[in-house]
């Protein structure tokens, strides 16, 4: 007969809870290791996440389709890309021409015929939509300069009054258009520019197929990324895979298992006592595994809380935005510790039990 399972679990629990200082020291040491790893992971995860978000906000996955020199690109084909898989929005700029308004005499504004799709590319938050041809949409900068707002009327030189139906904020995607007056028109004829926003994973293929989609004659349309790729040489996915702390968990796990082995070294007499009363080494290892589980669990909670607090204090990033990465890395280190620590501890107390009992 040997230890009952419940008695062995209780023994581990009592060893952890009754040695408060030893446990607190171990939890703090392990928490510091895991916390550093977690903080690094959280910092990089959030930095990459923010970069990715900024990249998307700035139009990183927007492509421009242009007619070939001496050729044309079809507005209807551009507009028809809306609803295709991987396409967020598509629309055309048809005829930008300079004009003045009677309400702002002497100031030259650009006036462009656009399809509604392009407004969704330039201002993704814009919900404005109308089909009335006697209406106009104003860029935010122009609206600020002229005092126009939705419901106002403008009078382009030589025309009658037109209702301003919306103010659009194009400053992120097309800052120039912020001073434009935009006439929403149906997608007909040839376009000057076809703007298409893709979802991130569909960008490369979409960019490659865009010329063929727009071409109507012998000459093939051209396409290019709206943002020059060399301005964004970072590849978030590759950076994430190559992050140094990705390989930090075996090191952290080994370090923590080593700490447990060191603690076992200082507990030789105590562990020798368990062996002397007939506890098999396998059960001693099981008891040490439960002790390690309790300590590592406490340290993990402490580490994640520490990492999140540090990250929030330093970067003001969303609280749980990188949690899964932290949990994966920290969890891997913790699992390695739980596997290796009891084994190392039992190796520390190998040899003569009589000698262990004499050790202090």
């Amino acid at each position: 007969m040997s230890w009952r399972t419940t008695a062995l679990m209780r023994e581990a629990w009592l060893n952890v809870t009754s040695n408060r200082w030893r446990t607190a020291g171990a939890v703090l040491a392990l928490g510091a290791i895991l916390g550093s790893l977690a903080a690094l992971e959280l910092r990089d995860a959030n930095e990459l996440r923010n970069f990715q978000a900024n990249f998307v906000r700035s139009g990183g996955y927007v492509a421009l389709g242009l007619p070939p020199a001496g050729g044309s690109a079809d507005a209807a084909r551009c507009e028809a890309m809306n609803g295709q898989p991987g396409v967020v929005a598509a629309g055309s700029v048809i005829r930008p021409t300079p004009t003045t308004f009677e309400t702002a005499p002497g100031i030259l504004y650009q006036r462009a015929a656009v399809t509604w799709g392009v407004l969704r590319v330039w201002d993704p938050a814009n919900r404005a939509a109308a089909n009335d041809s006697r209406q106009i949409v104003i860029g935010r900068v122009m609206a600020g300069e002229t005092g126009l707002r939705p419901g106002s009327f403008v009078t382009p030189r030589g025309e009658g009054p037109i209702l301003v139906t919306a103010i659009v904020d194009t400053t992120r995607r097309n800052p120039t258009a912020a001073r434009w007056a935009l006439d929403p028109v149906p997608p007909t004829g040839s376009v000057d520019e076809c703007w298409v926003e893709f979802v991130p994973g569909a960008f490369e293929a979409g960019l490659a197929s865009l010329p063929a989609q727009l071409t109507t004659g012998d000459k093939e349309a051209v396409a290019r990324p709206y943002i020059r790729r060399d301005e964004f040489t970072r590849d978030p996915a590759a950076e994430f895979v190559a992050r140094p702390q990705r390989n930090g968990w075996p090191l952290a796990g080994s370090l923590m298992a080593g700490l447990f082995a060191l603690m076992a070294w200082f507990r030789r007499s105590e562990l020798g006592l368990y062996l002397a009363i007939g506890t098999p080494r396998s059960l001693l290892m099981a008891m040490l595994a439960v002790e390690a589980l309790l300590v590592v669990a406490l340290a993990t909670v402490l580490a994640v809380a520490y990492a999140v607090a540090i990250d929030e204090a330093l970067h003001h990033t969303p609280r749980w935005s990188g949690t899964w990465i932290v949990v994966r890395t920290v969890g891997s280190a913790a699992l390695l510790t739980l596997t290796a620590a009891p084994l190392l501890a039992v190796l520390v107390v190998r040899g003569s039990i009589a000698n262990l009992l004499k050790d202090r």
Partner: protein
């Protein structure tokens, strides 16, 4: 239950001189036996061999005339033996009762029964009032009595004590010796290694270890 050593030789290293040399001895059952001898004569090693903590280089340990086999060692150690050492081996942060229960729990005894037996043993050695204190708060003599209580609680067939009074004053030595000799359950053989003639004189039998051999009354066995 008898315990016998047959042609036991033990060396710490292959090339070193033997600490125990072709030693044969039968320890009579249900008796208290003092093992005396000069420092370095191998008394502690002898006790470790008897208690199955150390496997002898040569020879056998027999219990009830049966040779102890390697695969039986852990089980026999748990069921039949209990230890009291000169250096006190307790779990310092745990309560006196927890320590006294330990051997019983290792034998698979239920918590409630183990606790009851531990309390009885603590009362036997005069520590009943300190049952809920932590072991680290006890004095040297109290700790040694705790070790004895822990050993007694398991009702061992062989109670092995290695210099249990080595670091104690005379009055405490008497209390510890009394707890060992008189407190042990019927049927328990006590083997106590000691330098103290006063302790040895209270045992039923004294054997001397010299040059790796055991002798009773000056006779080599």
């Amino acid at each position: 239950m008898s315990l016998e050593l047959r042609n036991v030789t033990h060396r710490y290293r292959r090339e070193s001189a033997p600490v125990l040399r072709d030693l044969s001895f039968v320890f009579p059952a249900d008796r208290s036996i003092a093992v005396v001898g000069p420092s370095g004569s191998g008394k502690t090693t002898l006790l470790a061999v008897i208690g199955l903590l150390t496997r002898p280089t040569e020879g056998d340990v027999l219990i009830d005339s049966e040779v102890v086999k390697e695969r039986e060692v852990a089980d026999l150690r748990t069921r039949l033996f209990a230890w009291v050492f000169q250096t006190v081996n307790v779990l310092g942060a745990r309560t006196v009762t927890d320590n006294a229960m330990l051997v019983l729990l290792a034998r698979g005894v239920a918590q409630v029964e183990a606790r009851e037996a531990a309390r009885d043993a603590l009362v036997t050695v005069g520590l009943g009032a300190l049952a809920s204190r932590t072991a680290s708060s006890l004095s040297g003599g109290e700790l040694q009595r705790l070790c004895i209580a822990s050993a007694l609680a398991s009702r061992p067939r062989f109670l092995l004590a290695d210099e249990p009074t080595g670091q104690l004053d005379r009055a405490t030595t008497d209390r510890v010796t009394q707890a060992l000799i008189e407190g042990r359950p019927r049927g328990t053989t006590l083997i106590v290694v000691t330098h103290d003639p006063h302790v040895a004189s209270q045992c039923d039998l004294t054997v001397a270890l010299q040059d790796g051999q055991l002798a009773i009354g000056g006779e080599t066995t």
